[in-house]
């Protein structure tokens, strides 16, 4: 299994590479500058500063309600932020201080960046009325505007690569959780994103199915994908992460290499959290 080919060599890809070099050239893959976000009175992100480099694998840990999902959803622009700034490849995609006019301009000018961010969810969110193959091909047709046969060819390739070649014509409901999650990953990768966000993607799986999904993510990390991963799988964090970030109460309380943070946490809250995860 290899993801070399996800940065394949079709014409469409080459154009993207050029585009990307222009947009991303030298800049950080993702940057947060003093980002605040509240739901009503409840503060969920409380001044987050963060910079993720090209090709970096970042694992986010922290107790329930600490704002991990919110952080990812802000990058994916599923949620607006209240203040601060989020940049992808140096380009502003969210500016909390902006008025509606500037927000509209940002949305327009960064529209192209939307497909640079892929996201995988805890409960898959596959389209249940579409087969595995259609789930993957749909985005290729609607977003990349590939002709039908090419979209399906790419979809088949993508699914075969992650070992789902046998299940192309099955509906999500006919697949195991692990298989569904792999289809969801293939669906996101098909659009050739630059950054992948994973929000507790193995939490809804039976324990024996966790491994197959983590393996796909491991391969992806090795292929040089920039990844933000929210997970409780400490083994994965230890083996794959370049950096681990501990969140609590909407703030980054501690960060470091997996070995230092997971084995010698400095912050009391990190120690407590890790203790609880280990006990579980």
């Amino acid at each position: 299994m290899t993801f070399e080919s996800h940065l394949g060599d079709s014409d469409a890809t080459r154009i993207d590479e050029v585009e990307r070099a222009r947009v991303f050239g030298g800049a950080k893959a993702i940057e947060f500058v003093d980002v605040h976000k509240a739901f009503g009175k409840k503060i969920v992100l409380d001044g987050v500063d963060l910079a993720v480099s090209e090709g970096e694998v970042l694992v986010l840990i922290g107790p329930s309600g600490s704002g991990k999902s919110t952080l990812l959803r802000c990058i994916a622009r599923l949620l607006p932020i209240d203040s601060g700034e989020i940049r992808i490849g140096g380009q502003v995609i969210q500016d909390g201080a902006a008025g509606w006019r500037r927000r509209r301009d940002i949305t327009r000018s960064s529209g192209m960046l939307r497909k640079e961010v892929g996201m995988v969810f805890q409960n898959f969110n596959l389209f249940p009325h579409k087969t595995a193959c259609e789930n993957v091909a749909m985005g290729l047709r609607l977003v990349r505007q590939l002709p039908k046969d090419e979209a399906y060819k790419n979809a088949v390739e993508g699914l075969t690569r992650i070992g789902l070649g046998e299940h192309l014509d099955q509906y999500p409901g006919q697949l195991s959780g692990g298989q569904q999650q792999r289809v969801a990953i293939a669906r996101a990768l098909a659009l050739r994103p630059h950054v992948m966000l994973f929000d507790e993607v193995t939490s809804a799986l039976d324990p024996e199915l966790v491994g197959e999904v983590l393996n796909v993510m491991r391969e992806l990390a090795q292929s040089g994908m920039t990844m933000l991963v929210v997970t409780h799988e400490m083994g994965f964090a230890r083996d794959v992460a370049d950096r681990v970030i501990m969140m609590d109460g909407g703030m980054i309380v501690e960060e470091g290499s997996p070995t230092s943070l997971l084995t010698h946490p400095v912050h009391a809250r990190t120690q407590q959290f890790l203790q609880r995860v280990v006990d579980r």
Binding site: R73, A76, R77, L78, R114, K115, V117, G118, M119, F121, N123, N125, L126, F127, P128, H129, M138, G139, L142, V143, Y171, P172, G173, A184, R187, A188, L191
Partner: protein, 228 residues
Amino acid sequence: MTILASAAYHWDWGAVFNHNVEKLGLIGLKYSLLVCALSFVFGSALGLLVAGLRLSHKPPFAQIAYIYTDFFRTTPVLVQLIWVFYVLPVLFGWTFSPVTSGVIALSMNAGAFFAEVFRGGIEAIPQGQWDASKVLGYRRRSTITWVILPQGMRNALPATANIFISLLKDSSLLSVIAVPELTYQVQTQAAVTFRPLELYTALAVAYFVLTYPLSLTSSWLERRFRIR
């Protein structure tokens, strides 16, 4: 005495099973089905539009859609029918034939129920479907066309069979404005033959035979689409 008299009622099915009544019955059936089919088509189109307006949350349209659905769901069909047939001409000077009036009233009524059924079907779709589409970069229109409507329609399908059942039953009300549908034919024959008991019994059986398969279809659809 009356009890004895009724027990002694002499049933004469010849009033039902004769050439004349059968011929008129078929004509009535044709009208009933025609009116229902048209109202089903127009009602579903109207319902989809109204559901869309309500879900759009756009200020004047969403409210108008809301008032429309609630008005037609809370007033009797008979009143709506009479209103369309007798009041519209007076208010606006539009005169419609009985059949057209009937189709308008039933379509408007079914439209309100369709709107609720479609809205329910669409609201039952998990937020995650919208989120996934958005992250994949689908435009709103593409999301609605390829992700939301197919699932919403599928969720709504079993309930639409129930709307057809209601339409079939409500179409009997069209007899009051002399649409020559099934109930109207039976009424006129009952007056001629003095055999209302036989004729209305046969009429009830006829409606049952028409609606019961639909009711079975509805539960079958429900079971079938629950799987995925």
